[in-house]
Structure formats: C-alpha cells, structure tokens
C-alpha cells in the first residue's frame, strides 16, 4: 500500500480514489483531491513533517496524516 509517506524526495504520485474517506476535509479543501498529483519536496529531519506539493499548493503535513492518504505511482486518467 503506497501512501504519501512512502514517496521519496522529488518523487511524484497520484492520490487514489480509495483514500477519499481518509483525507481530512481541510486537506481536501486545500487541493488534495483524488487524482491530483503530489510531489514530495522535502522531508524534515526526524522524518516528520513532510513538505509536499499537491495540486500546485505547497504544504507541510505530519507523517500521521500522510500515512492515511494512498497514492498510485502512475497517473489516473480522468474524464
């Protein structure tokens, strides 16, 4: 199961549809939507928080949150 937390620095993933229920509303509102592209920009020393770029927004989230959001390593084609 790949989550945002399993991305390596500079790697890109795509948020899976299944995570929808686990994404906190606030993150969703900030653009962290199923299908969106997410890149891991930087990991803080001590592996937490994670600095990501999702859907154009640059955010820092805690590892516990990142672990909840599943990703796919290849793009989902949306209609």
């Amino acid at each position: 199961m790949n989550t945002i937390a399993s991305l390596h620095k500079g790697e890109i993933g795509y948020i899976s549809e299944e995570s929808l229920d686990f994404i906190p509303l606030k993150l969703l509102e900030m653009g962290c939507l199923p299908g969106a592209e997410v890149e891991l920009v930087q990991i803080a020393p001590l592996k937490d928080p994670l600095y990501i770029c999702v859907n154009g927004s640059h955010l820092a989230i805690r590892k516990e949150t990142a672990l909840q959001i599943q990703i796919l390593k290849s793009e989902i084609l949306h209609v």
Binding site: L20, K26, M30, A44, G56, L59, T65
Partner: protein, 703 residues
C-alpha cells in the same frame, strides 16, 4: 463613519497579500478591536472609495474555506452567516493570489454561493510573467459572473480599480450562486433541505446544518426543522467531501478556459531557497545563527533608547516633585504614576525590535520553514511547530508571546505553550540579573576570553528555556485535555518584506503590549504606592521620630530625607507585609527588605531594583547602579554579621526570579486567553512552588 458607508469584508487565503491590500486601502485609518467572547483581533479601517463614498473595511482572518478549523476561521463563518445583522457586510472583497488561483477559488465559490455581492481581486499580478501565467480576464469575469480586478497591492497597482469595482458591485446589489450544491450528491436530501425556508440560499442552509451556526434572523421553527438533517454525521462528512470535489471540478472547468501556465517560463525561486533552508543540517544551523543575531541585535540596539527613556522619566518624576505643590497627589504622581508609566514604556525598544524581526521573517515566508523544521521536536514536548514563535517572543515579553499562540489550532498544544512561555527569560528579569551578577560574580575572564559574568547570564537564559521545555514535557504527559491535533502549514513563496506591512505590524503589536500590560502595571503601581506610603499608627510618627533619633548624627538634609524615606517604607503596609513573610523567606537567605522587593515585583519584575534603592536609602532618580551596588554590597546580615548579598543569596535570588510567576500582567493575559482563572492560578502556585524549592536548595547548598 456614516450610514452611507459601504461595509466591506476582506476575505482570502493566508499569504495572498490580503494585509497589503488592507493597508493600501486604509492607510493609517485602521484600528484593532475585539470580537466579543473570543480572543481574535478585529481589524477595521476606513477607505475612501471616491470623493463621495467611503467604505468601512474589516480585515477578516485568512482562511482556506468557510468551514472553520480554528477560532480565527470561525469568525469568517459567523460574519458570512450574518450572525449579527447590523454588522454584516454589504460587499465581500475576496483576495486571491495569482499563482494559487485554483485553490483560492474554492473559498470564492463558497462565498458566491451565499449570494452576497462579491468582488474578486487577483493579487501579485506583478509575478505573472515570472511564473509564465496568462489570464483571460474578460472571459474569467463572465465565467465567474463577478467583478474581477487584477492588482498588485505591494506595487499599489489596481487599487483604484478595486475601489471602483466595490462601488459598482454595491450599486448593482445582485449576486447569484456560482456552483451551488450539486444535487447529484443526494437529490432527495438537498431538495428537502431547500424547502425549509425561502429566505436562505441552499448553501446557507447547508452551512447551518454542518456548522451549527445560524444567522441572527433564523426562527425557532426553522432551527427545529434543520435538526432532522443533522442526524447522520458520517453522511454529512461524506457530502462535504463530495461538495468539495464538485467545486474543484467546476473551478477546473473555468480555469481551463481562462488561465494558462507555461511551465517552461516559470522560475522556481522557492524550490532553490527551500533546498537550503529546510536542509536537514544547514536548515538548523541557519536558524540558530539567525536567533543569535536577533538576540545580539536586540541587546545592542535597545540599550540606548532604554537608557533614554529611563533617564527621561526620572527627570519628569523629579520635576513633578519639585514643581508641583507638595502633597499626597504630587507624591502619587511622582512616585507611583510616572514611574509606573516609565516602567512600561522602557520595554518598548526591546519589544519593538523583536517584533520587527519576527514580522520580517513572517513576511518573507521564512517562518513557515521554521515551523516545518521545529514541529517534530516541539511535538515531543506537547507543543506545535508554531510554538517556536511565542517561545522566542517570550524573551522580550511573555505578554505578546502568549497572544501569539492564537495561531495554534490544537487546544492542548496551545495551552501548554501558554503555560510554559513565562519561563523564558523576559526583558524584565534582566535588570535583576544584571545587578545581582555584578554584585556576586567576579568580573574575570575564564579560559582567557570568556567573560564569566556574561557566561552566568547566558546560563540563566538557558535555564529559563530548559525549564520551559521540561515543564512542557511534564504537562504533555499529565494534562488530560481534549485535543484535536491537525497540522497543515502552507509553504508560501519567498518574497521581500514590505516595509509598510512590517511597520504596521510592529506598531500594532507594540501598541497591544503597552495597552494590555500597561494598564495593569500602572494600576498595580498606584496600589503599591498607596501601600508603601501609608501605614498604621507608627507610620505617622516616622518623620518626627527619625529626626529626633538622628539629631546627633549630623545627617545632611538629603541623607536625612533618604533615611526618613527608608524608615517610612519599613513601617508602611508593604513593610509590614515584608516583615510578615520574612520567616517564610529566611530559609532562602532573604530578609524582610528583600521581601518587600519581592512583593513590589508583582507589578513588574524590574521594580525590584528601584525598590531596593528606596530601602537602602538611595535617593530616587539616582538609580545609578553603582550607588545601589555600593549600598547592597555593604548591607550586613544582622544574624551572621556577614554580607547580606553574598554568593548564595545572590544565586538564590536569581533562581527565584527565573522561576517565579511574579508578573501579574502576564497572569491577567493568561486568564484572558484561556478564559478561566484555573490556569493562571495553577501557573502562579506551580511556578511559585518551584521557585521556592529551587531557591531553597540553591541557598542551602551554596552556603
């Protein structure tokens, strides 16, 4: 202000330059007030839209969505839901930043759906070229069905267009929803919801259901009908998720037609800088250096103005005493009120400089990186990455530091930060440390270059900080407070700080310190003056008795007056209080004279020095530390026949001041921010106990 003024609410994501726009629109015509019942600042300003039309602009806290996750954000919800009809806005001015337009439009779409006249200002358009962005403005206006203005608040461009748009919008006074709620989410549910009342838009009703907040005009029956829709909580959550996704779908459709990014043109300054500032080693190194530079600057730059203020107030006090008719009121003025005010103003240089640095760091965007670097470490101690700012601010003064904790969403993390911040060494402790160190620590260099006195001062700072961290850890493990910890911090683009914004921010923070702390310190100074200038029967005869008793000692007039002042203090209510607590503080190495100084420190810690100078008969205004030092150095402890201020006593006193919660003004602020007396009292007694035990151990071990 007149009835004709248009009420405008300024709303937008954080980091969109909303504050810059507010400052450009209102200039110096702004003031900060308070929302009743919550500790959120209400920022208001007047803007001249045209020669005949003014607007009252309220700068609402930045938020990413109407759905709030903190008290700040709940203010936005309440304002938009017209909780208070009289104050509800006529026009909403939404600020978006050109680079994050997609995300900004989420909030915009929610606001449009409330059917309030809205103007969209897209800010930072001076960056458009650099980012390879092009916008089809006329098509965007059409698609959004809104007035849209491209601006650069920082460069003062487009401001006139915004003002004109606000007027047009207000005159047109119509507004239609943008996305609405997608009926496809649950046609049955939403159709029935809309039927509850024709007076509100569907989105408004939906917000009433999900947020438990109602407009002032809602009736009891309507509320009851709404109850039925709230029953299934998980269903509500699901619908909110779907609503958000739907909104983004609509936004994407619109942006596809109107907003183009040519990535090849974009220059990524942020990425390059972040590689350095969030680097696992260099990121911290840089931060530590920055902190040291800030502290050093505060010391270097603040000393001159502080001495200036100190001297000026001493002169004013003398002037008052010699030129006003002799009497009680004059005494109150020259010994209570003027020193009281001076005691507050003297900290302005340090506080202003510290907030200058913090404001600059926040404006540049660097603060978010600090929060990023420090979050994990802070969490181990029950605090949040954002707690760094209050902890650093606490080295100037705990009061604005505690107010700065409002940005921490999780109550437990915020509470712990508030409770431990007073442990950091604030500016008021410095005069106490300074004089005691110069008394008991030899002025020598160890290892040839390290100044011992400086080293001791540094360790006191370290002690304060370490205690804060340890106390936080203990509280973290023992406090059973309900907490919802959710952490999302935006990493904004780096930008050059705007002088105007920084200036306003520093003025605002300094003003709040002076007014909040100042009032309390002044009131306490007045009361303490009273207690020190009056006493029971023996007090009234002091002057006569002293003159008699010392008739053969040939004191000069000045010395006689000083002697009288000292004995008066001894016999005043405070003096009696000091003597009463003497048995309790004797194990710490103190006598009743020091006891008096401890009590007066309740107004402000640095009053310690002034009080001692009175007790030891140093003339007021002669707070030349050399003179006080001489007197303190020659004080004899009558029990031991040796010096009163020896090494153990000095160390014990410094330890006491490091730990004790003496500043009543701080307690008052804690009470206001935590909304209960429980926490400030716990602080008072907890820290007091710690101070007592620690000083006791220090004194006993060292002597």
């Amino acid at each position: 202000m007149s009835k004709n003024d248009i009420k405008v609410a300024l709303i937008g994501n954080p980091n969109t330059g909303k504050t810059s726009l507010f400052n450009q629109l209102t200039g110096l015509n702004q003031k900060v007030g308070n929302y009743p019942g919550v500790t959120v600042d209400k920022k208001l300003g007047v803007s001249k839209l045209s020669s005949t039309q003014n607007a009252i602009i309220t700068d609402l806290p930045g938020t990413y969505s109407i759905n709030p996750t903190s008290i700040d954000e709940s203010i936005v919800l309440k304002t938009l839901l017209k909780k208070n009809i009289k104050e509800s806005p006529d026009v909403i001015l939404v600020v978006a930043d050109v680079e994050n337009l997609k995300r900004n439009l989420l909030l915009f779409s929610q606001i449009k759906d409330l059917e309030i006249p809205t103007v969209l200002a897209i800010n930072m358009v001076d960056q458009m070229n650099r980012k390879g962005i092009t916008i089809d403005l006329s098509l965007l206006k059409k698609e959004l069905n809104t007035e849209v203005v491209l601006i650069s608040a920082r460069k003062n461009e487009g401001i006139k267009d915004v003002k004109a748009a606000i007027i047009r919008c207000h005159v047109a006074a119509k507004a239609s929803p943008l996305c609405g709620i997608n009926n496809q989410i649950d046609p049955d549910y939403f159709t029935k919801l809309k039927e509850i009342s024709p007076n509100y838009s569907l989105y408004e009703l939906w917000l009433m259901v999900t947020q438990n907040n109602y407009p002032e005009t809602v009736t009891k029956e309507e509320k009851e009908k709404l109850l039925a829709f709230k029953k299934d909580v998980s269903k509500l959550k699901k619908y909110q998720h779907k609503e958000t996704i739907y909104r983004y779908q609509e936004i994407n459709k619109i942006l596809k037609k109107t907003y183009i990014v040519d990535k090849s043109k974009a220059k990524d300054l942020r990425g390059n800088l972040d590689r350095v500032f969030t680097h696992k080693i260099f990121g911290y190194v840089f931060f530590v250096f920055l902190l040291l530079a800030i502290f050093q600057s505060i010391f270097d730059w603040a000393t001159l103005p502080m001495d200036l203020i100190d001297g000026t107030f001493a002169e004013i006090s003398d002037f008052a005493k010699s030129n006003l008719p002799a009497g009680v009121l004059t005494d109150l003025l020259s010994e209570g009120i003027i020193p009281g005010i001076g005691g507050v103003l003297i900290f302005i240089p340090q506080i202003a400089i510290l907030f200058l640095f913090i404001a600059i760091l926040e404006e540049t965007g660097y603060m978010s990186r600090v929060v990023f670097l420090m979050d994990k470490i802070m969490r181990r101690f029950g605090m949040n990455g954002k707690s760094v700012i209050p902890l650093i601010s606490g080295t100037a003064c705990a009061i604005p530091a505690i107010m700065a904790t409002r940005t921490i969403a999780s109550w437990k993390e915020r509470l712990i930060t508030i409770l431990v911040t007073p442990f950091t060494t604030c500016s008021a402790r410095l005069p106490v440390y300074a004089i005691l160190i110069s008394l008991i620590i030899p002025d020598i260099k160890i290892f040839g270059f390290l100044n011992l006195q400086g080293l001791v001062l540094l360790s006191l700072y370290a002690l304060g900080f370490a205690t804060a961290i340890i106390a936080a850890y203990i509280l973290h493990k023992t406090l059973k407070v309900k907490t919802k910890s959710f952490f999302v911090v935006e990493m904004p683009n780096y930008k050059l700080p705007s002088v105007k914004n920084v200036f306003f921010e520093v003025v605002e923070k300094t003003k709040s310190f002076v007014l909040e702390a100042g009032k309390i310190i002044l009131a306490l100074s007045v009361i303490l003056w009273f207690l020190a200038s009056n006493g029971p029967a023996s007090f009234d005869n002091v002057e006569k008795n002293t003159i008699e008793n010392t008739a053969n000692q040939n004191f000069s007039e000045k010395e006689l007056q000083q002697r009288i002042a000292s004995i008066k203090l001894e016999n005043s209510y405070i003096g009696i209080l000091g003597k009463t607590i003497e048995p309790v503080i004797r194990p710490l190495g103190y006598d009743w004279k020091i006891g008096i100084a401890l009590i007066t420190s309740l107004a402000a810690r640095e009053v310690f020095v002034g009080t001692l100078s009175t007790i030891y008969s140093v003339a007021s205004g002669d707070e030349n530390t050399a003179t006080i030092k001489q007197k303190m150095a020659s004080e004899i402890n009558l029990d031991t026949g040796k010096k009163r201020f020896n090494f153990p006593v000095g160390m014990s006193l410094m330890v006491f001041y490091a730990f004790a919660m003496q500043c009543m003004a701080t307690l008052a602020i804690v009470k206001r921010e935590t909304k209960t007396w429980k926490w400030p009292l716990i602080q008072l007694f907890g820290m007091g106990l710690l101070a007592y035990v620690a000083s006791f151990i220090t004194y006993q071990i060292l002597s």
